[in-house]
């Protein structure tokens, strides 16, 4: 019952969000700020996690596939495909669901409990559209760049293992990441990330927008936003994968 109620409220909220802004001037003033806050400020975590995961994935793959029957390019190939297919889109989005989702939910939730949203409504502003639309659009626009950036950095991380350790040679690694490359995998990952970006920004906004009570409740809204956005990301991951890769 609660799920149905939440779904209905979410759909009705999106109906208010996905309309032309009351003031385009205000939208385009807000939009770059959101690009910076949700996208550029996520770069450090994307850089750190992608480089390290790329490196660790290379090391783990190499150490767990020490079989003379496997060709030398296996490690690079596995690292590349894992990064392209899952890590840089799905896992990175789950991490961003935590960072960006909690940021959005707590910001909008605080505005709700301090009556700033009521103030917007009393002024005759479509508060949902004004607050949420720039966030969704900005995050959806930024996400493909973050995903492609993460792919590149993950591959660089793996290359670093070849350079700095004796686990794998850079030659084997490079031939592995070049072997049987399927460009469609990049497209597939980018498409997935667009859906995930929409889910993260809209679900987090929903929990923030309907927060009530005090600071503790904003915290709860933030937690609910992250948990539910993550579950939806995983669910849509299966759905999109079965549609695009089968």
């Amino acid at each position: 019952m609660s799920l149905l109620n939440d779904t209905g409220k979410y759909v009705l909220l999106m109906k208010r969000v996905l309309v032309l802004p009351d003031s385009r001037k205000m939208f385009f003033r807000q939009f770059p700020k959101e690009l910076e806050k949700l996208g550029l400020q996520s770069l450090p975590i994307v850089i750190i996690i992608s480089v390290f995961i790329g490196a660790i994935m290379t090391m783990q793959t190499k150490l767990n596939s020490a079989n003379p029957l496997l060709p030398s390019y296996t490690t690079g190939l596995v690292t590349r495909d894992t990064l392209l297919l899952e890590f840089s889109s799905t896992i990175m989005c789950l991490i961003l669901a935590g960072k960006v989702g909690s940021n959005i939910a707590s910001e909008i939730g605080t505005m709700r409990i301090t009556e700033q949203i009521d103030a917007l409504e009393i002024m005759g502003v479509n508060s949902a559209g004004y607050l949420i639309l720039p966030k969704i659009v900005a995050f959806v626009v930024m996400m493909p760049f973050l995903v492609i950036f993460s792919m590149a950095l993950g591959l660089i991380g793996g290359y670093g293992v070849g350079l700095l350790t004796t686990i794998i040679t850079t030659g084997d690694y490079i031939s592995g990441i070049q072997y049987a490359f399927v460009p469609f995998y990049v497209f597939y990952s980018v498409v997935k990330s667009l859906f995930f970006a929409f889910i993260i920004a809209s679900v987090a906004s929903y929990y923030g927008y309907y927060a009530y009570g005090g600071a503790l409740d904003v915290g709860k809204a933030s937690t609910n936003a992250v948990v539910n956005a993550s579950i939806l990301v995983l669910f849509f991951n299966i759905l999109i994968t079965s549609l695009m890769l089968n």
Partner: protein
Amino acid sequence: MIEVKNVDKSFDGNQVLKNVSAVFETGKTNMIIGQSGSGKTVLMKSIIGLHRIDKGRIEYDGRNLPDMKMKDIRVLRREVGMLFQGSALFDSLTVLENVMYPLEMFSPTSREEMVERAYFCLKQVNLEEKAFGLAPSEISGGMQKRVAIARAIALQPTYLFCDEPNSGLDPVTSLIIDKLIHEITHLFGITTIINSHDMNSVMEIGENIIFIEKGEKTWQGNNKDIFHVHNEALNDFVFASELFKQVKKVNQ
């Protein structure tokens, strides 16, 4: 003028407003008073349209709010200014930007004219110019209230709502805010409705007072009539403190 006619409002079967009728006059500071839980906040939120009423009419100069569609309510709300209990200033904007916000959303004027109007409104509430560039968190509670009043009057509203304008303020600042609201109401001919249980405010600026008791309007008058009322609940509420009992004796 805002007229409330036979308004009922319930929440989950609990009737909070019972057949409330009242007239809030233009150019006067109209006050809704009553104990906590009496229904005065619900009445104010119903008048603004934040609660949908079960029965009755809420007429803004003849325009019945419950009959309006959301689109029309939004248009009507551009004629409304509101001062919230906690000021509700936008954290991400400076004092000046807060006052300019409604102008930027809805006013077709140039940016220079908007800045000029925002300066005028901030000067009306006696705010020093050095505070204009500060964030709301960098100014005092009293100054925040003044900025909120300036924002509320930026679009030259026909109707001004004030929810507990003195809450959290010291007596001197409360008096300043009361006088400010009173002056602005008279200066611009606004229909002002104030939700309060601050008796100093009631005595100071209550030109049309509505007393709500358990969801019903049981008295209407002004700050002079209030000394001669025989309504027991009202007397218990208004003259609860020894000080106000003495004031009543002197006035009688």
